[in-house]
Amino acid sequence: MIATPEISWIAIAPDLLLALGAAAVLLVDVQWKPPARVLAWVVGVTLVSAIGFAVLQWFQAHDAMAAGDSTTRIAFSGLIVMDGFAVFARLALLAATALGVMAGWRFVVSLGRRGAEALALILLATAGFSLMVASNNLIMLFLGLEVGSIALYVLAGLSRERPESDEAAIKYFLLGSFASAMFVYGVALIYAGTRQFEILEIRGFLGNFIVTEPAVIYIGIGLVIAGLGFKVSAAPFHTWAPDVYQGAPAGLVGYMAAVAKVAGFAAIARVLITALGDLDLTWLPVVAGISALSMLLGSVLALVQGDLRRLLAYSGVAHAGFIMTGVVGGAFDAILFYLAVYAIQLVGSFAVVAVVNGPDGAGSAITDYRGLARRSPMLAASFTVLLLGMGGLPLTSGFIAKFGVFTEAWAGGYQWLVIVAVVASVIAFAFYIRVIVVMYMDESIDQVELSLGPARWVLAVAVGTTIVWGIFPTSLLELAADALPL
């Protein structure tokens, strides 16, 4: 006779809603073949309610933390947790999803009947990642990762009209599975070294026992870092990113990139800092190395790109490096702030790409953006803000984010990393500026008026947050500061 498992509905409410939403979308589509806006409603309601529950979770987690009891925050016998960190990351994911759906709406519509599946996959992917960021168990984390990743593989290949999309899909898929295998083998080795899958247990184990022959654990850590580094496209595990970003449907890339980054880094932070914090003397230098490599390689390569999406991809590599400095600094709040800010800016930027190059745009050569300031001043202006935000110019949230992680890294004793980081961010300026130059200082190629569609709202949010959090970061900083993991 099996005892009834412990169920904590609130802990999984958002994910559950997302799953149900996905199912609903599929069923509604199959049953009634409704027009797109009906699906829009379903998705909208799903996301809004999911966000609502996430907020609810936030307060519960916050109260629990205030009360100092950890039990309410550990759910499903330790498979997942509902700590501030998880909930914050989840909210970031949901926000990115909501914006991503809006940004990609045109594309979804263009898919016709298959749009429903696309939406379902988006919701499921988010559900998976949202489980992943909350996972307190490496296997659970792996599952969440796979749920999200597999959905993304499909999304990458969705635009069947373009061969690049196939290529993106297969590359993403093969390398992704390769990385997952690495990751899960690493998990297995860590298990072999600690007899634990649970992150908190691992921390306890490593805290209490000295492992005499920890080599196997280190191998495991290495593989885990590699697997997660792939997801966040940190060098040298970044190679997929440019090709996928370029090949995948413009409408969805922003979403794909954003959620992968958020979930991946949430996982990295949890695994490395929480679970393996006691071994940091060993992995800190490695992570620092990866961070430095990512920053430099990413910015240097972005400098020479002719295609905006590849540029953003490589800049994403650089950003992975920047966030890694936060990991080196061991600061959850700095990482979360950066993630939230960057995710939104990423979705916003790709929304622009989707508008300019079309939802399923073939290429996105930077030259297509000539004189965008003339064609559509608002679009150019918002894109400029986002680019500068990602560049980390003061008065944008990006600067606060960078400043946060750099400070932590410096305090953490990795001064050289901060030096590298600031130099890299200068190079980063160079290529972001290039785009702005093209938009403002070249003459327009054609005067076709661009209609933003739902992307309008995405940009409004992205630009708004970029500036507001750039000038009054306190609100978000304080939230991030409260979003501590168990």
């Binding site: 390398l175 280190y218 593989l223 071994l279 400098l303």
Partner: protein
């Protein structure tokens, strides 16, 4: 009375401003009269303010106008003592005469008011210089004088030569100022202030002779620039490009005397450094001879005068260098009279000849313009140093003093004597060439006597040139008594007492003068070809003199051209290529790094796999190695 002293400067300055903004609304010569009135008024004020000094024994006062740069003890303050008073009177007195003369001379020039603006400003600047109560303010006037000379020399800016000459004048002066400024810095470092009161009273106890020498020499550099001494005299001849009244103003009353004045003013410092003084004297003597030799061979009526000015200034330097400050100032004053007279006369001639300046194209003008001829004749005799004219007394005192100083100075005395001879020669040569002999001018020229507004100043100056010297004869040294208070800190050099000595020396210099004049007369009375032949006998020396030893070319080749070349190298090779190139090079380097790293992204998924696995292995090995 001193509370109105600021008016001395304010009046010409106000005049300048007035004319600058409203000059164009004033009819005809009115603006000229205004300007002259302003200077004349400050002359009157000067006289009144100077009254106390005539009783003698009255010390200087310092009047603070307002704070300027207190951190370096430099305020706008007026220092009113006999020396300043004398200079003021010379500047305003001669100045006002020149103003009046200019009314006639510049008649009909379309920028007539603007010209007087500058003249007034010039006077104001010079007065600032002489009335300054500290070196900083002196430097203020010093530089403003330079500015005005720039503006006035380049007055006819549409011609190519004047602007170039103006620029040359200012820049050469700047080179002098460079030394002067460093001198001031030393002064400041030594005393913590630049004010006369602060410096002179403490010079004795606070200045090592070394510093004193340095300061003295540096001030000399500045003075040499302003007063056109070797090696910085080259700007002065070119300054002839300006309208003649300007030349008169620059040469006689104002600018060039500044150098002499500042050395006299700094007597307290030179007191401590015989070396510097000797250098000053030597420079003066050499310049005197050098310039005189050039003046001999000039054809341009104004260039003769220019080089004669340089030569005469050399005398003054010789005097102040010999610490015969009174003698120097005395000669400054008399020279102001007759040199102004000479220039105005020359101006009147040029005016009459329709801007003809080549003396070979003149001659026999005395019938056409008797007054000019007469007055210039007086001046010529005066500068030639024939008693009892002004030049005789001052020059003689200088020579006597330097002789009395003995040693090296007696050598300088000989130079001075030779110079005196040359001076007499070239001056008489000039006068003869212009006024005597056969008319050699073209038909186009219709020489005529200048209007009264021009001749009256000539006459006044002529009178001054005659009697001016009597203020300080070996028999009545009233000027010396007058200046006493300004030099009480220093021991003045005096000519030897005693009749015999005086007679001997005076006799010698008079003899030199007479010989010079005589040769000049006899040579140039004769028809053209004859004295041409005379000049040719001196070839090639004469040619070299005529080309002023080709110093300008030399400077051009040795300084200007290489300098320009350096600048070009710096600008187009070093800056554009090297520095900017390396800056852009860094940028290119980063880009090329990117280009170099790009092939990593081959597009083949299996290559990516290799990269991935390789990265993983590195990470793993690093971890294991690091952990072990």
């Amino acid at each position: 009375m001193t509370e109105f002293l600021w008016l001395v400067i304010a009046l010409p300055l106000g005049g300048a401003l007035l004319l600058h903004f409203f000059g164009r609304y004033l009819k005809g010569p009115l603006s000229g009269w205004l300007a002259s009135a302003a200077v004349a008024a400050s002359f009157v004020i000067g006289v009144v303010a100077a009254l106390p000094f005539f009783q003698g024994g009255e010390h200087g006062v310092t009047v603070l106008l307002w704070e300027w740069m207190p951190a370096i003890g430099a305020n706008l303050e007026l220092h009113w003592d006999p020396l300043a008073a004398l200079m003021t009177l010379v500047v305003t007195g001669v100045g006002s005469l020149i103003h009046i003369f200019a009314i006639g001379y510049m008649h009909g020039d379309d920028r007539f008011p603007r010209f007087f603006t500058y003249l007034n400003l010039f006077a104001a600047s010079m007065l600032t210089l002489v009335l300054a109560g500290n070196y900083a303010m002196l430097f203020l006037g010093w530089e403003l004088v330079g500015l005005c000379s720039y503006l006035l020399i380049g007055f006819w800016f549409t011609k190519p030569a004047p602007p170039a000459a103006a620029k040359k004048a200012f820049i050469v002066n700047r080179i002098g100022d460079f030394g002067f400024m460093i001198g001031l810095m030393l002064v400041f470092t030594a005393f913590g202030t630049l004010s006369y009161a602060g410096v002179f009273e403490r010079a004795g106890q606070q200045l090592t002779s070394g510093t004193a020498t340095a300061i003295g020499l540096l001030i000399l550099v500045g003075a040499a620039g302003k007063s056109a001494q070797i090696p910085l005299y080259v700007w002065l001849p070119d300054a002839m490009e300006g309208p003649t009244p300007v030349s008169a103003l620059i040469h006689a009353a104002t600018m060039v005397t500044a150098g002499v004045y500042v050395i006299a003013r700094s007597a307290a410092i030179y007191e401590l450094t015989p070396l510097a003084s000797t250098v000053v004297a030597t420079v003066g003597a050499l310049t005197a001879l050098w310039a005189a030799s050039i003046a001999i061979a000039q054809r341009d009526i104004k260039r003769v005068l220019a080089y004669s000015t340089i030569s005469q200034l050399g005398y003054m330097f010789l005097a102040v260098g010999a610490t015969a400050y009174v003698a120097g100032i005395f000669h400054l004053m008399t020279h102001a009279f007759f040199k102004a007279l000479l220039f105005l006369g020359a101006g009147s001639v040029i005016h009459a000849m329709g801007d003809e300046q080549d003396m070979h194209k003149m001659g026999g003008l005395r019938r056409k313009m008797p007054i000019t001829a007469a007055t210039m004749g007086v001046a010529t005799l005066a500068i030639a140093g024939l008693p009892p004219l002004a030049g005789f007394w001052s020059k003689d005192e200088i020579l006597a003093s330097s002789f009395a100083r003995g040693g090296w100075f007696s050598f300088l005395w000989i130079i001075g004597l030779i110079t005196a001879l040359l001076t007499a020669f070239y001056m008489s040569r000039q006068w003869v060439l212009v006024f005597l002999g056969e008319p050699r001018w073209e038909e186009s020229a219709h020489p005529h006597e200048s209007p009264r507004v021009m001749t009256i100043p000539l006459i006044v100056l002529a009178i001054l040139s005659v009697v001016g010297g009597l203020v300080n004869t070996p028999f009545r040294t009233s000027l010396e008594h007058f200046l006493e208070p300004s030099f009480e800190l220093v021991s003045l050099q005096h000519p030897d007492e005693g009749w015999l000595m005086f007679a001997l020396l005076a006799g010698l210099s008079v003899l030199a003068g007479l010989v010079g004049v005589g040769v000049g007369l006899l040579t140039y009375r004769r028809p053209l070809e004859r004295w041409r032949g005379f000049e040719e006998t001196f070839e090639p020396l004469w040619g070299i003199w005529e080309e002023a030893y080709r110093v300008d070319d030399m400077y051009g080749r040795v300084l200007v051209a290489p300098g320009k070349r350096t600048a070009e190298v710096a600008a187009f090779d070093v800056d554009a290529r090297l520095i900017d190139g390396s800056v852009n090079g860094i940028g290119r380097l980063v880009r090329s790094l990117g280009q170099w790293a790009r092939p990593l992204q081959t597009g083949f998924v299996r290559n990516y796999g290799v990269l991935f696995l390789g990265g993983t292995l590195i990470v793993v090995i690093w971890l294991v190695a690091g952990g072990a």
